[in-house]
Structure formats: C-alpha cells, structure tokens
C-alpha cells in the first residue's frame, strides 16, 4: 500500500505540474506572421463558421472565434471593459450591441462602411451595423386557424383565449415589447399586455418550443421569429403542421431585428475587423445568408428567403433599434403584468 501510494502520488504530482505548466504556456499569443482577429460571436458556429472560413481563405486573416450567447457575451464584454481581448463583436440581436455601445466600448466605423447600411439598421452612434434581418412573425396551425389575425390587437379578442403562446424571457419577444412601448407609450403598452394576459397565453422558454407546440397541437398560434419554422423542420426532418405569417404591413408585430457587428475600442486590428464587416455586407455574402441561414439581407432588401414575402411587403414599423439595448423598462413592464 505504501509504495503504491507513493507511486500514484508521484504521478499525480508530475501530471499536475505538467498540466499547470501547459496552461501558462498555452495562453501566450503566438505571434505568427499574418494578421489575426479575435471575435466574440453570438451567432451560432453552425451558421457563421463557413462564412468566416471563406473570409480567412480570401484575406489570410486568422480568426480566433469565441462562440456564446449574444447577451452573455455582451455582459462579458462589459465586465472585461478596457481589458477585453476581443476585436469584433458579432451579435445575434441589436440589444446586445446597443448595450456595449451604450457603455462606450465600441469604436466608430468608417463612413464608407456606414453608408452601405440603411440608417434604421445601424447604431445612431455609427459604431455598429446590422448585417442580416430577423423578423417577428406568428406561427399558426393551418388546420385550426381559419381566420388569420391582421394586427397584434386582434390577439386580444376573446376567441383566442387559451390558444396563444409567447416566450417572455426571450430577447426577441422583449425587443417586440420595447418597440410597443416606443411607439405607443408605457400606458398603452401595459394595456395591450394586460389584454393579452386575459387570454391566458401559454408561456414557453424558447421559440422553438412554441413551433413544436403548434405542430403538436398544443396551441394554435404563437409569436416567434421567422426562421424558427425552418430550423425546427430541419431538426425534425419533416414538414410541420404549422405555417408562419406576417401581420398586416406596418403592424407592430412585424418588427425587424438585426444581427450585426461592432468593433471594440480595445481592438488591436481595427483595419482587419472593418474588412470582415465589409465582407459580411458584400452582395455575394448577403445572398448566401439568405439562402443558407434563411435570413433577410440588410443590404439588399429584394433578396428574400425561400417561401417568405419581401421585406418591402412586410413594412415593419420604424423603430430605433439602439433603444433595444435598454430592456430595463420593458422588463419592468413585463414584471408588472406578471410575465417575468
């Protein structure tokens, strides 16, 4: 027992020494030739990696990508502050970008980059731009819903009692409520929410759960983002007993949120980062976004994902996307009506 204990302890000591040493060695940045960029990406690796790989191929810039949840990454960047190792922040929604921008951590982008994107799809400080469009829709069961709602106000009617679903903890739902507050004011927004609550909507954590619930017959209509139908169908490998539709043009329910990018003040490679953003806004790349990830193009609104109406036809409400950063008002409202 004694020598066995000695041997295992020796092994343990050596192993731990080696491991600890390797951690310190591992972290030293290898200054290899050629540029590199550190990216924090709230966009899923599955979807964005091919684009990034192509960028590296074309330009030779090496990319160190850190994947995570957009909001959690934004919180991380806020904590890191001026010590952040990141050059670029790729976010899945405008709120996270707005939060980082509001903290003064993003650097202003060059004019020629800013000009590529419409004003409503970028920051008012010119420190982040939208890249793809993600639209709010409603998913419904064609079997059980014969008359489609035209406006979000239609959902307050008594006929929808017990048949609706929302995901109140989801950032895209909260973005929608923010836009509701922005355009109608606190009081009217609270009134709408109270009216919705009277219809006892079922609450889910994730948008995909709502789509699955419609497909399974648990609910008849839910508020989600446009690409979830496609995402869930892909996963289940079959067509769903569900369809998506937009509210009437100009309705608040058609909010467009954007995925976007911003460059941090701490960026060591500003030029390289701008090059990446420019690449993501290129015609060819935007077309690929539309076909591969099923999103809308910010740069070319005429490009439309398969089976969906054009952006122009949807006429989403004009909302200042950077206000989506401060979801505190929205969350307070949702807490007041009992949804959070």
């Amino acid at each position: 027992m004694g020598s066995k204990l000695k041997k295992s302890r020796l092994f343990l000591a050596l192993a731990s020494f080696a491991a600890l040493a390797s951690t310190l060695v591992g972290c030293s940045s290898d200054s290899s030739e050629g540029q590199s960029l550190v990216i924090y990406s709230g966009r899923s690796e599955e979807f964005i990696a091919p684009f990034l790989a192509e960028f590296t191929e074309k330009t030779g810039i090496q990319l160190d990508v850190r994947y995570g949840d957009s909001a959690a990454l934004a919180a991380q960047i806020l904590e890191e502050g001026e010590n952040s190792p990141a050059d670029l922040f790729l976010s899945q929604d405008a709120g996270s970008l707005g939060a980082v921008s509001a903290a003064g951590l993003l650097r202003s982008l060059d004019q020629d980059l800013i000009k590529k994107v419409e004003n409503k799809y970028q920051s008012t400080n010119q420190d982040w731009v939208g890249i793809t469009g993600r639209v709010r829709v409603f998913v419904y069961s064609p079997d059980r819903v014969s008359v489609l709602p035209k406006s979000i106000d239609d959902l307050l009617a008594a006929e929808w009692k017990g048949r609706l679903a929302i995901a109140p903890t989801n950032s895209s739902f909260q973005a929608f409520i923010s836009s509701l507050i922005q355009s109608r004011g606190d009081a009217a927004a609270e009134q709408w929410l109270n009216g919705l609550m009277k219809n006892e909507p079922k609450l889910y954590e994730k948008n995909s759960q709502i789509v699955e619930a419609v497909d399974a017959g648990e609910i008849d209509l839910g508020l989600v983002n446009h690409y979830y139908l496609w995402e869930v169908a892909q996963e289940l490998g079959r067509d769903l007993n569900a369809a998506i539709e937009f509210f009437q043009p100009g309705d608040l329910g058609n909010l467009i949120n954007v995925s976007g990018a911003g460059i941090l003040n701490t960026a060591k490679n500003f030029a390289g980062a701008q090059e990446l953003i420019a690449y993501l806004l290129e015609e060819g790349t935007q077309a690929k976004f539309v076909s591969d990830t099923h999103e809308y193009s910010i740069v070319n609104p005429s490009l439309t994902p398969e089976g969906l109406p054009a952006l122009a036809a949807i006429k989403s409400p004009a909302i200042d996307l950077s206000t989506l950063a401060d979801l505190k008002r929205t969350q307070d409202l949702l807490i007041r009506v009992g949804l959070l």
């Binding site: 731990s16 390797s22 972290c27 806020l78 950032s171 954590e205 979801l327």
Partner: protein
C-alpha cells in the same frame, strides 16, 4: 479520555504555517466573487436598488426559491435515506451493483434530465415539475452520504434494541438515525445549495427562482448591479442554510470510537420488506436513470450516421482535462482546510464555512466575477488554469464535507502513537492520516470532478477560445434546436461522468479502510 478537541496531539501552541497559508489563500479566493458582487451592487443607485429589493416580485421569487429548496431537500433526504437503508440493510440481490446505479444519476446534468422529460411530455412545466426533476437528480447526494454514514454505524446497539423488542421503525429513528444524522445533514446541505444554484431545470420549466432572475437580469437588461443584489441575497440564503446544518451537526452524537462491536447489520430477509425495498429502488432507477439514459441512447442511435466523431472525442478529452485540474486544485485547498478544522482553528472553521458560502452562486455569477478579476491579468485570462480554478471555487464545497469527516474519523490513538514514536506532524500526516482518510478525500475530489464536467455558464465565459467541452458543444447545438445532434455529446458526458461515479462507491467499501481496530 480527554474531551479536548480532536487532534490535540497534533496541535502545538500554534497552527502550522503551511496549513495556515493554504487556508488563507482559500479565503482570498472565496472573496473574489463576493467582492465583485459588493462592488457591482454598490454601483447601482440606492433608489432603484431598494425598489428592486422591496418590490412584490422579489418577495415572490424569495418565496418560490425557499419553497423549492425546502421541499426538494426534505423529499430528497427522505428518499435518499430510504434508498440507502434499503440498499444497506435489506437482503436484495446484487447490492453492490444497485448501490452504484442509485448514485449514477449524479452524472446526468439537470438540463439533460429536464430535456429528456420534456421530450416525453412537452407540457411539463412549473413548480412541481421542477420539484420532481430536482428531487430525482439530487437524491444521490443524500444516498451517498447516508450510505457512508450507515457503513460506520455500530450495529450492535441496533441488534440489542431489536432483541429487546423495539420495532424496526422505532429502532431506526431512535438508534440508527442519530448516528447517521451528521452525514445526512451534510448531504442534504449539498442538495439545498445545489437547488439554490440550479439554472438548467428551472429555466426550462419556467420556475422563478433567484438564479433564473439573476440570469435574466444579466442577459436582458444588462443590469449588473440589480443582478448583484439578487446574488447577494442568494449568498445570505446560503449562509442561513450553512448555519442550520452546522447546528444540526453539532448536536448529534459523535461516534469517533474506532472500535465497533458490530460492523455489519444483520440483513433483513423478510419477503415483504425485501419486495418493498426492491420496488422503491427499481422505481427510483426507472425515473431517474433508465428514462433519461434510454432517451439519450435512442436519439444517439437515430443520429449515429451524422456524428462528428473528432469533435466528440476532442471535447471529451477537454472535459476530462479541465475537470481533473479543477478537482486537483480543489483538493489541494480542501485538505488544509480540513486539517485546520481538526485542530480547532478558527481560521479553519471560517474557511470551511466560507467555501460553502459561494457554492450556491450560479455559474453565470461566478463566471462574470472571474471575468472581471481575470481580465486584469492577460496572462491568466481565458486560460485553462483560470477555468480549472473557477471549477475549484464553484465546487470546492462538495469536497470539503467529505474531506473534513474523513479526516475527523482518523482515530486519535493512532495519531497519538505516531507522535509518541517521535514522528513529526508532516510524517504523521503522510504515514497515518492521509492513507486512512484517502477514501473520503477521493470521494470529495470525485464529486468536484463530476460537477466540473457538467458545468456550463462559467465554462462558456472563461474557457480558452476554441476549447470546447462536451457541455459547451451540447449547448451550441441545442441553442439552434439541433437536439438529435446534441444527444451524442450528452450521452458521452454521462458515460464519462459515470466512471468517477462508480469509483465513488468503491473506496468506501470494506471496514478495514476506515481504521477500525478490533
């Protein structure tokens, strides 16, 4: 027969410097997240913070969280003790295998658990669903502790009581339970602290606990000062629980006698009891092990053709390496603390409790605290070392209990003899204390290892870029609804975690490893 503190012989007039320093370090490390929270909380303006603290919603969250903790702890402790007793005292077939299986659910992360049950019944949600799932997944902590306690009971008292005509149930309550009370209390404390910190289950089931609200605040309004305030309330709740457990531990009879007249109970052979025991165990295993594992295996075989094996294997290695390092750091901090507690040192006691204090902090809080701290040191930030360190901080509490009780069980007379023979304290430690305490120390480190393998939020924030564990890969896939593709990662995670889980059971077997002297 002095009643002075255990370890009297090892205590000179002062505490050994090495131990002192190690414990001091532990306290400094624990202070990192606490200081972070205080700083962020103080940054907020008082009006909005007091509005946060005293609003109705916070009271609701407090009630929900407390109820969840109390109910789950109560049910898990009753179920855990019942299972342990059935496994230890009743003559059921293949006892060792069943003991190992009953502990195995620890290897399953709560989010995987919840996903499995949701896929069976998509509409399951709410408070009682969370109770159901949390009880199933945390009972092993109590079972493990209770089994360990039962193995150290002196069964002669039990047999005498039975001979005198006391019925089995009363015998258990009056004779056996007081002897295992400490262990059960320690196990239940772990359950309670875990429920406080759990995010996976409560998020998917929509239960409003502090952890969920904290996460929503960080990710929704980026309001870090409000989130910090809520996290500090969590710390206060933990402190309350720790104090309760400490008092429960203090009052129970300490059986530190190395000599036991009867080390094994006479197994109950009555058909009725055997059937009842077996049904209880089978039911528990069916709900907490067979169901989730079965579903994982099913999904795995469905997607067998499309699995990315290189990614799976590299993630497995990364998971094992990071968790192993975390366990190593954890033990090197827990051992000195345990030894200090033995010498009755106040610093030791402080460190012992302090470690538990941060145990209930959700991963996202610990992650952000270490981001704030670690980003100041570029050579440290986002390295494997910092990640392992975060695991140690998060889960050290799981090892402290086992280490402390393992060290406390080393018979005083052996230590005295060693001192009489002229051995130094360090020699006594190496030759006498460590070998005898090794099984408990190993159990403690395996518990940390397990928890580290399953960890998600802190890992996402602190891992070196490109370093993926099974949990992070699983998360990346479930985030885009690719549940079938995530299944292989979940399956491998559980299989790998099953290995230390099996090992946890083995060292405790056999009474000769506990230093019993006839």
């Amino acid at each position: 027969m002095s009643k002075k503190a255990h370890g009297e012989a090892t205590k000179a007039s002062h505490v050994p410097l090495g131990l002192f320093t190690a414990a001091l370090f532990s306290l400094i490390f624990i202070a990192i997240p606490l200081v972070y929270l205080l700083r962020r909380a103080l940054e907020g303006n008082w009006r909005s913070l007091s509005a946060l603290l005293f609003r109705e919603k916070t009271a609701q969250i407090f009630t929900t969280t407390s109820s969840l903790v109390i109910i789950v702890s109560l049910m898990a402790s009753i179920l855990g003790v019942s299972l342990a007793w059935s496994l230890h005292n009743v003559k059921i077939p293949m006892r060792n295998l069943q003991q190992a299986l009953v502990i195995l659910p620890i290897a399953i992360p709560s989010y995987v658990f919840t996903f499995s049950w949701i896929s069976i019944n998509p509409s399951i949600s709410g408070f009682w669903a969370a109770v159901f799932i949390l009880v199933l997944s945390t009972t092993p902590y109590v079972s493990l502790a209770a089994l360990s306690g039962l193995r150290r009971v002196d069964w002669s008292q039990h047999e005498v009581a039975m001979t005198l005509g006391l019925n089995p149930f009363r015998t258990f309550i009056e004779i056996t339970l007081p002897q295992i009370r400490n262990s059960v209390a320690a196990g239940t404390l772990l359950v309670a602290l875990y429920v406080l910190s759990d995010f996976g289950a409560v998020a998917l089931l929509g239960v409003d606990t502090f952890t969920r609200s904290i996460s929503n605040l960080y990710r929704g309004s980026f309001d870090r000062s409000s989130a910090a305030v809520l996290a500090l309330i969590l710390v206060l709740l933990s402190a309350t629980l720790i104090a309760i457990e400490s008092r429960a531990r203090g009052k129970a009879r300490q059986s530190r006698n190395s000599a036991r007249l009867l080390k094994q109970p006479i197994l109950i052979n009555s058909r009725g009891t055997k059937l009842a025991a077996q049904i209880l165990i089978a039911l528990y295993l069916a709900l907490s092990l067979i169901t989730p594992m079965g579903l994982l295996l099913l999904r795995f075989f469905n997607s067998a053709g499309t699995i990315d094996y290189p990614s799976l294997f590299s993630a497995s290695i990364s998971t094992i390496v990071a968790a192993f390092l975390g366990a190593l750091i954890s033990i090197s901090l827990a051992l000195p603390i345990g030894l200090l507690v033995l010498t009755g040192s106040r610093l030791g006691n402080l460190a012992d409790k302090g470690v538990l204090l941060v145990h209930a902090l959700p991963g996202i809080v610990m992650g952000l605290a270490l981001v704030a701290f670690g980003s100041e040191f570029p050579w440290l930030y986002q390295t494997l070392g910092l990640l392992a360190f975060s695991y140690a901080l998060l889960f050290m509490a799981k090892s402290v209990g086992s280490v402390r009780s393992a060290l406390a069980r080393v018979p005083q007379n052996l230590i005295d003899i060693s001192a009489t023979l002229g051995k130094s304290r360090a020699q006594t430690f190496r030759a006498v204390i460590l070998p005898l305490a090794a099984p408990g120390v190993l159990t403690g480190s395996l518990l940390v290892l397990l928890a580290a393998m399953k960890e998600l939020p802190a890992t996402l924030m602190l891992r070196p870029t490109g370093f993926e564990t099974l949990a992070t890969e699983m998360w990346a896939l479930t985030a885009i609804s690719r549940f079938s593709e995530a299944a292989p990662y979940a399956l491998f995670l559980v299989l790998i975690a099953a290995i230390p889980t099996f090992l946890i059971n083995r060292p405790d077997r056999g009474s000769n490893e506990e230093g019993d002297i006839a």
